[in-house]
Amino acid sequence: MASYIVRRLLGLIPTLFVITVIVFLLMHAMPGNAFMALVYNPKVKDPAALIARLEAQNGLNQPLYIQYFDWLRNVFQGNLGMSQSLNEPVSQAIGQALPNTLLLAVTAEVIILLVSIPIGVLQANRANKGFDITTSFIAVLFYSIPGFVFALILLLFFSFKWNILPSTGTVTPGVSYSGSLGDHIIHLVLPAMALALPSLAYYTRLTRGNTLQVIVADFVRTAKAKGLRTPRILFRHVLRNAIIPLVTQFGFDIGGLFGGAIILEEIFTWPGMGELSINATLSHDYPLILGSTLVFAVTVLIGNLIADILLAVSDPRIRYD
């Protein structure tokens, strides 16, 4: 297993290389760069010269392959470059955005798991009964409303109509309690709900399906024969086996969650990776695009690796040779 993990980790390097090359080529295929709009002012005496200077400063006048290897060399030296639209180091921009994304993702994930696993198990226990059908229906309904509409509806009620939760940001500016734990929590509630509720359906469904399959297994029958009570069987024996695919799925999702919920972050002005990367893309900010791609790729790949390991641990019969 250890050698497998090492091999996989080494395997990440060529994968990351290919991914960054693809992103690099794609972003240069979009005409126009970050400086075009920057100096679009008729009062600038010689805009062409200014653009040329900014491009030269940022190495954009070099052949593409040299630009790429320059970037790569800097990355190996721990330098992700300067963002062209934000005028700050890429590492700093990511350093500010990543914790916000993490906080939101972890909170949402905790909500998802805490809610969907019990519901899924109970649904399986009462398959096709009233509880199962109603909760499934509600979950799928949440899932089917497009994310931004769902977020706006939450905002409409909780923030605009009842004014009990703030609509934007991670802290309240300009008040004495700014940045306190409570302040963070009230800002987290709406975006975390908007992120978690639509995903409930999928995880509930997975839990329900897995539980249904396990519930008729021999060992469950044995447990029943031994006279154990249903809740104990459900949550001790069945759940343990039913949860494995869920955890695997979770591993796959980790990467995606780090990518941030672009639209939710936009709506709630939650300054995370999603907002950062979409702004980078729209303003053709090359170093920032590459930097955020790298962060996404590493998290997705590590998430996949974790999923693979979990899969192996959960089922010793799987061979990795």
């Binding site: 979009m30 126009g32 005028n87 300054p271």
Partner: protein, 577 residues
């Protein structure tokens, strides 16, 4: 209304003034209204309270004035740092940190006297040295070769500042006369220079920045969060990418602002209207459809102010495919007649807009009122002009070029703003109605559109017709940057009109409006009117409409001064309970 509108249009509407007058505006007061009188008159004005204003997208990270080109940063630095002069709601140049100014006989040198009340937020007086530092900075090699460098034009007319100077060197045209007096000598006589360039010179605190080498400014702590300013508010807290909290400057040149705290908050355009209703935001500009519905909302007040900006339909006159056709003045006149602009005003802005017939919208104090009623919607006349110009209607119902080729021009517009897409749809219909088979391209990013416009000397770029907008900013308008025949930003191309004699006349008039004689405002206006009339007959671009600025704000907020370039004089605003 439309998602991400504000962010995109902030990019897609290009501002002509170097600095946005800013939605908050820089504090200043009309010289005719002394502070004392103002304060006495409003003795009962309550002090205190927190104002929440919005920006649609994240701030940059540089807060030394002009170091960052982000318009949102300039909202913040505009409140923290006052320039030497400013513009009032009537587009007149008025004093700010500088109280009085006068010209030398040959008009090349301007003398300035600093307001005796001008102090930094720690109580130290603003001196000529501070102004000098501001000039040196914009002229320095560090600013121009390493940092942004985009605002060098503010000082580039000063004698000795044509090329970047070694850090800390003062251009020879800047002279300190006394701690409160200084003079600036320009290389040429130019009546627009003071209002459109020198005005923006911003004093910088020598007792802080003077001690740091300019090459280190961008990495200094002062740049990340300035501690001292000469504007109405100073920064107290910056939450990266979210908000900047500012508190009133007790030493502000025009007296301590009534409002205690001003917060700039990044708020997605999608939720601004909701935040206004729930009171989480105090003042914000909204789109017409929302505006109409917020008008009657409890607790809110509204304001409509015409803006000094306009939308236009441009044609690449040097285009390799249809450049010759676009260059025909009758084609452009026909297009202008074919556009039902009053309908555009209704459809796009619910009536909150005006038709634009010249290079200046009617909100602009230099606009020639005589052009107001030209080019009334008249498709018959449009057809007649097109027929005269030889664009014959073919068997398929579409016009051909005078040479008999199929005529299927394309229209390019920026993505993101759905109103721009709606506008493009309407343009297509107007053109189709006069048998011009205008086709819409897929929307492209604004950067790509600029790329195609800027790199098109041979007319080979795909861009043919295009939608864009100009924000003309404040101050004495200087159309040379846009309309001189060789101006880089003449987006239509360098030879926008035929015959050459017209072009020569254009350049002659533009030179005249910036000559020594044009220091006389009446003379300057006369020349500008002549030029506007020439422009109006030639229509280098088909200007369409000018949107009004629609502001919604809490009815507890009072004293807001609205202008065609944004709200002004924040130190006069106050909040009631």
């Amino acid at each position: 209304m439309n998602k991400r509108t504000a962010m995109f249009s902030a990019a897609a509407v290009v501002t002509l003034s170097g600095l946005l007058a800013g939605l908050a505006g820089t504090g200043a007061f009309a010289a005719t209204k002394p502070v004392a009188k103002h304060a006495a008159k409003h003795a009962a004005i309550p002090n205190g309270g927190t104002l929440v204003q919005t920006v649609p997208s994240s701030f940059g990270v540089n807060f030394i004035p002009l170091l960052d080109s982000s318009a949102y940063n300039q909202n913040v630095t505009g409140l923290m740092f006052d320039p030497i002069l400013t513009i009032n709601a009537n587009n007149q140049l008025i004093g700010d940190i500088v109280q009085k100014w006068w010209f030398s006989k040959n008009l090349k040198t301007t003398y300035f006297k600093i307001n005796p009340n001008a102090k930094w937020s720690n109580g130290i007086h603003v001196t000529s040295k501070d102004v000098e530092l501001g000039v040196d900075w914009l002229a320095s090699q560090s600013y121009n070769n390493k940092d942004n460098g985009a605002y060098n034009y503010i000082v580039s007319s000063i004698v000795g500042a044509q090329k970047p100077l070694p850090d800390g060197t003062t251009p020879s045209g800047f002279k300190i006369i006394s701690p409160t007096e200084f003079s600036i000598t320009q290389t040429t006589v130019d009546p627009t220079n003071l209002g459109s360039n020198l005005q923006f010179i911003t004093p910088l605190p020598t007792f802080i920045l003077g001690k740091i080498p300019m090459s280190k400014w961008s990495t200094s702590a002062f740049n990340k969060q300035p501690t001292i300013g000469d504007g109405p508010f100073t920064i107290t807290q910056i939450v990266p990418n979210q908000s900047v909290t500012m508190k009133a400057n007790p030493y502000y040149v025009f007296g301590k602002p009534h409002i205690a705290f001003n917060i700039w908050k990044v708020v997605s355009p999608d939720v601004v209207s909701g935040d206004l209703v729930s009171g989480q935001v105090s003042i914000a500009a909204v789109h017409a459809t929302d505006f109409n519905k917020l008008k009657n909302a409890p607790g809110l007040a509204t304001n409509v102010t015409p803006q000094n900006s306009y939308d236009f339909l441009g044609w690449r006159l040097n285009n390799a495919v249809y450049g010759k056709e676009f260059s025909n003045v009758k084609f452009r006149q026909a297009v202008e007649y074919a556009l039902n602009r009053p309908a555009l005003v209704q459809a796009l802005d619910k009536g909150y807009a005006t038709v634009v017939n010249g290079p200046f919208p009617s909100a602009n104090s230099y606009a020639d009122k005589a052009l107001a009623n030209s080019y009334k919607y008249n498709p018959t006349l449009a057809n007649k002009l097109l027929n005269e110009a030889g664009f014959k209607i073919g068997k398929n119902g579409w016009r051909t070029t005078p040479g008999g080729r199929p005529f299927t021009p394309t229209l390019t517009y920026a993505s993101g703003d759905s109103l721009l897409q709606t506008q493009a749809e309407f343009m297509k219909q107007f053109m189709n109605a006069v048998h011009i088979n205008l086709k819409l391209n897929a929307p492209i990013s604004f950067e790509q559109q600029l790329n195609e416009l800027n790199n098109d000397t041979n007319g080979k770029q795909p861009i043919q017709g295009f939608l864009e907008a100009w924000n003309l900013g404040s101050g004495p308008q200087d159309p040379r940057g846009l309309w001189l025949s060789n101006a880089t930003f003449n987006t239509t191309t360098q030879d926008w009109t035929q015959p050459v004699s017209v072009l020569k006349q254009n350049d002659k008039l533009l030179a005249e409006q910036a000559s020594a004689a044009a220091y006389n405002p009446a003379y300057r206006q006369r020349v500008l009117n002549q030029w506007q009339q020439l422009w109006n007959t030639q229509l280098p671009t088909n200007n369409t409409i000018s949107d009004d600025l629609l502001t919604v704000y809490s009815n507890k907020l009072h004293g807001v001064v609205f202008s065609p370039y944004g709200t002004l004089f924040i130190y006069k605003w106050y909040l009631t309970k």
